[in-house]
Amino acid sequence: MNERVQTTFAKRPRTWIANLILTLCIVGLVVYSFTGSQINYNSLAQAGIKFNTMINEIVDINWGYFFGYGDGASFNDGIVFKMLETIAMTLFGTLIGAVLALPFGFLASENVVGKKWCKVGETILVLIRVFPELILAFILVKGLGMTPLTVIFTIGIHSIGMLGKLFAESIDNMDRSSLEALDSVGANAWQKVRYGIIPNIMPELTSVTLYRFDINLRSATIFGLVGAGGIGLPLSLALTNTADPAWEMAGTVLLAIVIMVLVVDFLSGYLRKKLV
């Protein structure tokens, strides 16, 4: 071999070292995960029996409860109504969140406020984002009571954090050429925003907000499990008796949840494809 080939060969990167360390770490994690305390393996055996009961009862859907008729019940008591209520709360929460996220997005965008200030905006958004939604719902329930406003505000505040970051990214990645042109015709700052920024980012913003609505809807369903209202509430009530859960009720609620989430998932995917 000539000398150049020899030196290149000697200097070749030894990737196997990094790979080995990585594999050891993963194995370590796996071992740690399963040898920890408290995994109660014999309850798995009991689960088998319970599973059978669950499957039998869960598919026995109480249609009266579902639609809200019979036995003196009205539409407002039915699960379908709860479904609509959950969708409505999510809709308003996401809208409020999206509208408020816009100024935050501008504040966190490097191209708008400069490198220093955008860090401030980013940090605020991170803090809002990392705060667990469920805790937020929990706090608001204690404060505002069990009204739909709790869910709306929880979703709204959380969405500000999530959407604010995506909006800022959109603004930073936007095509700037039209801004240059607007500068050259003498547009002022507001006009540049209206004609240069907004038309360029609007489709992305709408798409992202729709996706957020989708995710928020799923979160809204579980807020009921901590008592904040919406469709999760009947489910948590059905499951409170852990010795003998009311599987029919649970099944009815689950059916509604599954239908609602799948339909919205499909619709939002369709709309988002049409936007691009």
């Binding site: 240059e180 547009a187 002022n188 209206r194 004609y195 038309p199």
Partner: protein, 255 residues
Amino acid sequence: MIRFIDVVKTYPNGVQALKGVNLTINDGEFVAIIGLSGAGKSTLLRSINKMHSITSGQVLVDDVDVGQLKGKQLRMLRRSIGMIFQSFNLVKRMSVFNNVLTGRVAYHPTFKTLFGIFPKEDKILALESLDTMGILEKAFTRADQLSGGQQQRVALARSLAQKPKVILADEPVASLDPITTVQVMNDFTKVNRDFGITIVANMHHVDLALKYAKRIIGIRDGVVVFDGPSSEINDDILVQIYGRSLAHNEILGVE
């Protein structure tokens, strides 16, 4: 009338883009600026509407010192100067019609323009500009659905809608194929001849510049090394401007 008096532009990193430029461009002229990339063509062009500011000297547009202008006065200057860019710089998702209308935003109060309210005369003017460029039928198509040549014509229509006295063009045909290039250069000629608008254009292709512009300004390293009618250009002068004979990508090969 555009005048450059001892204009110097030094960038913060020490590079001197313009080293004492003196020029006068009269109304109605068709001027092409040629030179190597980085010779100072873009800086020269953009200091006319203060898209680039200069370090010393004066740039006078109709006896107004551009360097002193700020804020609203600067915008009022810019609204009467059209600018054409190499990458067209249209708002891609808006219709052609709305793109042309953006040329009028500096003529109206912010409040109205924010809501997209333009007077009827402006809308008719926009459509007329499109008609002059021969693309009236594309008025309500989305801008990014047009070909490159058509987009540049929309940009020209946008400038026309400003009712400008001058149109600055920064390598307007560099992104276009040879046939479309000729069409767009013909459009520039039409605008210059029929409307009396001064055209100052940076050009990459020398033969194109010679064919369409009556006056050539050659820049090398921030200094004007040639300023005269295109008929006077010969190979020796070109070597002076480019420092070498022309590369074959600097000749388009148009007849």
